[in-house]
Amino acid sequence: MQKKLEEIRVAAKNALAAAEDAKAVDDLRVQYLGKKGEITAILKQMGSLSAEERPKMGQLANEVRADIEAEIASALSVMKEKALKLRLEKERVDVSIPGTVSELGSLHPLNSTLNKLIDIFKSMGFDVVDGPEVETDYYNFEALNVPADHPARDMQDTFYLTENILLRTQTSATQIRTMEKRKPPIRMICPGRVYRSDDVDATHSPVFHQVEGLVIDKGITMCDLKGTLETMAKEIYGSDTKVKFRPSFFPFTEPSVEVDVSCSECGGKGCRVCKGSGWIEILGAGMVHPKVLEGCGIDPNEYSGFAFGIGLDRLTTTRHKISDIRLLFENDLRFLKQF
């Protein structure tokens, strides 16, 4: 019997060493250790042994069983390791294939530029306010020092809805609405859509966008106007950007200026973008006209202020070097996806 047990031990070891997979190992476990297995069969013969031999053989049988169990565990463990290695090898991916993404949309470039402006001006203490796009003649013209039949009306071709109601030609109308509602200090920007009867071409659109700015406080100067616009221009076009004032005329500011920024494309040397001048005109500005202040019940002897109107479309096209303003309103996905 002892011999038999030793034979089983050797046979099981050899069989386990040759086993190729977990199934084979399991079959061997049943063959040797199962209820009808070979060890069990031996133990069943224990009755024929002497009382002396029985414990010895019992011990040996247990040893053999433990041995086989250990062999099985080790075989399984090796096999598991092998299987894992195999799996990992099998699961190799091609890391050069592009990742899977769920598509992100984007804001229209006009609005991403506007958001940038809002951030800049909010950080300088400007409130963001809105006004109606359909305005009355009073707010769009008269209160801005442009009475009926005034030549300055020729500066802007206006769309009329009735004799007295029109599509605002400038966000400046909101200056008046703000000054009527709030007392100084006032610091606000009003972004919005404006309308002028210009035929559509590469640089003109009958619908476009402005960002109006208004500051009213004690002791506000033209140097403050320039400082504020310089901050804006540097944020938008880069820290090397220079700002230039050119005298101009707007009925609601005095003095009035056109504001140019140094061309971001050529740094002021002159190129195609700035038409060789080194400068790009981006907005009109000035010190709020005393008549306008008076009309809104603000004493021009006590308060002064400045106003500016940024052409958002032009700012956007120059910033992103978009050659044709019509692209902004065409909404071709291939254009929108670039922003």
Partner: protein, 796 residues
């Protein structure tokens, strides 16, 4: 205003190049629209003398000319013109020359014969009979003087000038004139400005022997000056005047008409000359037109007038639309013997209104509209008489008819130097201000800290300290303005609540792969009709623009759907396979039509999607997310929108109000907008929703006890809305029902005709303890019973 630089030099010394002059004028407030060097328009065109002409052997109309162009050898040029002759002086464009019409001339061969240039006609040199006598003939221009061969044609034609087009801002009507511009140049360059001093001799006599003037409306015509010239000698104008007129875009007519036009350009004061023989009753009456009165203007057009329009009439009928255009009946003719000259001031708003009403704009009306100087009327009339005198165009009769209602007193403005500096943020010395203002012809003296400025009558625009500040600044130079931060109390900038809501929506939508679009607020007048809305639908009550750019931009939109469909169409037709778009913009809804007050501007979100994987439910999912972002719980119902697929259209309803409409575009509508695939659109009325604020989130404890999952497979009518079943389950599930979701909807094999199978997964959980079988059973039975009552039976 276009001016000849050479001509300006007769009023002011210009000691810099044209380019530098332009730059410096821009920095003083005079933008330059265009500056053309006339010498640059023509190159290598010279005077040639034709030495010999021989016929061309291969052509019966070409001639071979040997031309002396001042070089050692004659040049051979072939021409097709038949008016050339030996000994003629002609303009010859040599090899590599440029003509004013843009043509480049190079040597070549004409039917086998070398031609080293081209002989030019007046037309090819862009000149007319006015510029050079003989330029109008058909054929080569035969020069009427013997110039040295080789003389540059630019010299012959006086092409050595610059034409500068200054943009005159609306506040500077005084600069709509040579003198106004020259005065500014003098200030900018610091050179002397010479105002011509009119002087002439009269032949005696008395204007009162010939004419009377009566002004009936001093309000519109505060001053009217009449002068009289007899025994006119109508003829051509001198070359210098023709050139000055041409440079400013006016044609030469005859000496008298040219003088009135020239003086207008020079002084900014429009003049009008009447043929005396046409003035009935020898009287000018400045009056309002009678309603329905008619006048035929110089351009041979008849206008019917209304009573607010001012006319210059004789004793019988109107001769002129005051300040706008003369009448055909009194114009200066070659036969005119005596003339009556008008120099008047008309109120600018009146001229503007009348000019617009009759649709006539002239150089004259343009100047009156912007405002003329009442004191300038006298100077301008004297200047015209001086030119008539100097050019011997007629005999000047003594006397002036100066009819006015009192002339304005000289204005004085007293401003504080300190306040000017405070407004500018600078420290300009008072003396500097005084010298700048004086140079601007604003006589200024200093009294203590204040400036006393006499405002000249031509500077109506100066009323306030700020105006003086601007005058000082534009000459002192804006480069002196140095940027400073605002020196005031710190303020906090805020966004409106509506904008904050827009921002959160935009984050949501872009995160869902949507691209923002921007479309015009006005649309075509028939675009809304393309949605087939029923009669009476409020969206058909749109506001029309009185003066639209064209029909396609003529009404304010009452919905955003058509713009979205147009964008989808553009993209589909450009083969952009799939896309997700959104736009936040306004609908313009009138409170009443015709419009009496500003309309409601209602903020609206439009969504539009198409392409693989998009269907009604992807759109609905977006709508649901938008509503969730707006903290809105809506009830969804089938919608009846003519432009949406009747089976795939829904609306979101909150408190009985429709807050969103969405669905698949109706195939008929899709055809109208030229969509070549299914598309899905939504309109969400943000104006009704923006008030909903998202409340602060209050944390709820995470569950401690396990959840139980149960599936329910139901059989119900195909028509039964699954959403209703979902609602029943939610209601019946009670507190223990944590979640319910649909995991299968099926119609077809093994399901009876007209029925469908719907499978739900229910998650049950109690926050207090692990659920017992009895608890689960109770909930499930309650749910099943309610479903059964609604006609959805359990599938077994």
């Amino acid at each position: 205003m276009k001016v000849s630089l050479e001509h300006l030099k007769s009023y002011v010394e210009i000691n810099v190049s044209a380019e530098e002059l332009c730059d410096r004028m821009v920095m003083a407030g005079f933008e330059v629209e265009e500056a053309i060097n006339t010498a640059e328009t023509m190159k290598n065109v010279v005077v040639g003398k034709i030495l010999k002409i021989t016929p061309h052997e291969n052509s019966d109309h070409l001639l071979i000319c040997q031309i002396d162009v001042g070089a050692d050898e004659p040049v051979q040029i072939v021409t097709g013109a038949d008016n050339v002759f030996e000994g003629a002086y002609v303009p010859a464009a040599l090899n590599n020359s440029l003509l004013p019409n843009g043509m480049n001339i190079k040597s070549g061969k004409l039917r086998g014969v070398a031609s080293n240039g081209m002989l030019c006609s007046g037309g090819e040199l862009c000149i007319t009979e006015e510029d050079y006598k003989g330029a109008g003939v058909n054929g080569i221009l035969i020069l009427n003087e013997e110039y040295a061969p080789g003389t540059d044609m630019r010299e012959v034609l006086g092409l050595n000038d610059w034409i500068i087009d200054f943009k005159i801002t609306a506040n500077r009507p005084d600069c709509q004139s040579f003198l106004g511009i020259a005065r500014e140049i003098g200030v900018v360059l610091g050179t002397e400005f010479k105002l011509p001093v009119p002087s002439f001799e009269t032949v005696g006599d008395d204007i009162n022997n010939y004419m009377q003037v009566e002004v009936k409306n001093f309000d519109i015509c505060p001053r009217y000056i009449g002068r009289f010239v007899k025994n006119l000698k109508i003829g051509p104008s001198p070359e210098w005047m023709k050139r000055a007129l041409k440079a400013s875009g006016m044609r030469s007519i005859n000496n008298i008409v040219d003088i009135t036009n020239f003086v207008m350009l020079e002084t900014g004061q429009p003049l009008h000359a009447f043929d005396y023989s046409d003035i009935k009753g020898s009287k000018i009456i400045v009056r309002n037109a009678t309603e329905g009165e008619k006048i035929t203007t110089l351009d041979d057009k008849e206008h019917t007038l209304s009573s607010e329009m001012l006319v210059i009439a004789d004793a019988e009928s109107p001769s002129c639309l005051a300040g706008i255009m003369g009448g055909l009946n009194s114009e200066i003719k070659d036969t005119t013997k005596n003339l009556f000259l008008e120099s008047a001031k008309f109120r600018r708003d009146s001229v503007r209104r009348t000019s617009r009403a009759v649709g006539v704009r002239t150089e004259s009306s343009a100047r009156f509209e912007r405002g003329t100087d009442i004191m300038n009327t006298e100077y301008a009339s004297n200047r015209a008489l001086q030119l008539i005198y100097e050019l011997e165009a007629g005999e000047i009769v003594d006397g002036v008819l100066d009819v006015n209602n009192g002339l304005p007193a000289e204005r004085e403005l007293i401003v504080s130097v300190q306040k000017i500096n405070a407004l500018l943020g600078l420290n300009i010395p008072a003396e500097k201000m005084v010298s700048i203002l004086n140079s601007l012809h604003i006589p200024t003296t200093m009294i203590g800290d204040t400036l006393k400025c006499k405002i000249p009558s031509f500077r109506d625009d100066i009323e306030y300290m700020a105006d003086i500040a601007e005058e000082v600044m534009r000459i002192y130079g804006y480069d002196h303005i140095v940027g400073t931060p605002i020196n005031a109390a710190v303020l906090r900038g805020t966004l409106t609540k509506e904008r904050a809501v827009d921002d959160s929506l935009k984050s949501l939508l872009t995160a869902n792969g949507m691209y923002e679009i921007a479309t015009y607020s006005f649309i075509g007048s028939h675009t809304t009709e393309m949605l087939d809305l029923p009669e009476g639908d409020s969206r058909l009550n749109y506001i029309k623009i009185l003066n639209p750019l064209g029909d396609e931009y003529s009404v304010m939109r009452t919905q955003l759907v058509t713009s979205m469909l147009t964008v989808i169409s553009t993209n589909m037709n450009r083969k952009n396979a799939d896309a997700r778009f959104f736009e936040i913009s306004k609908r313009f809804v009138p409170k009443a039509l015709p419009l009496v007050e500003q309309p409601n501007e209602l903020k609206t979100l439009a969504l539009g999607i198409y392409g693989d994987g998009e269907d009604f439910y992807t759109l609905k999912g977006l709508v649901e997310q938008v509503l969730k972002t707006l903290n809105t719980t809506a009830h969804f119902e089938r919608a009846d929108e003519p432009y949406l697929h009747p089976g795939r259209a829904a609306k979101a309803v909150v408190g009985g109000k429709t807050v969103a409409v969405f669905g698949e575009v109706h195939p008929t509508t899709a055809d109208k907008f030229d969509l070549n695939a299914r598309a899905y659109v939504a309109e969400i009325y943000l104006d009704m929703l923006s008030e909903n604020e998202n409340p602060l989130v209050i944390y709820s404890p995470l569950p401690k006890f396990p959840a139980v999952s149960r599936d329910l497979a139901l059989l119900c009518n195909s028509e039964t809305p699954v959403g209703d079943l979902l609602d029943i389950i939610k209601n019946a599930g009670g507190k223990l029902l944590e979640n319910v979701s649909i995991f299968d909807i099926y119609e077809g094999a093994q399901i009876p005709e007209g029925k469908k199978s719907v499978a739900f997964n229910l998650t049950l959980r109690s926050p207090e303890a692990t659920l017992t079988d009895e608890q689960i059973e109770t909930v499930m039975n309650r749910v099943i019973k309610k479903l059964d009552a609604a006609g959805a039976e359990l599938r077994r």
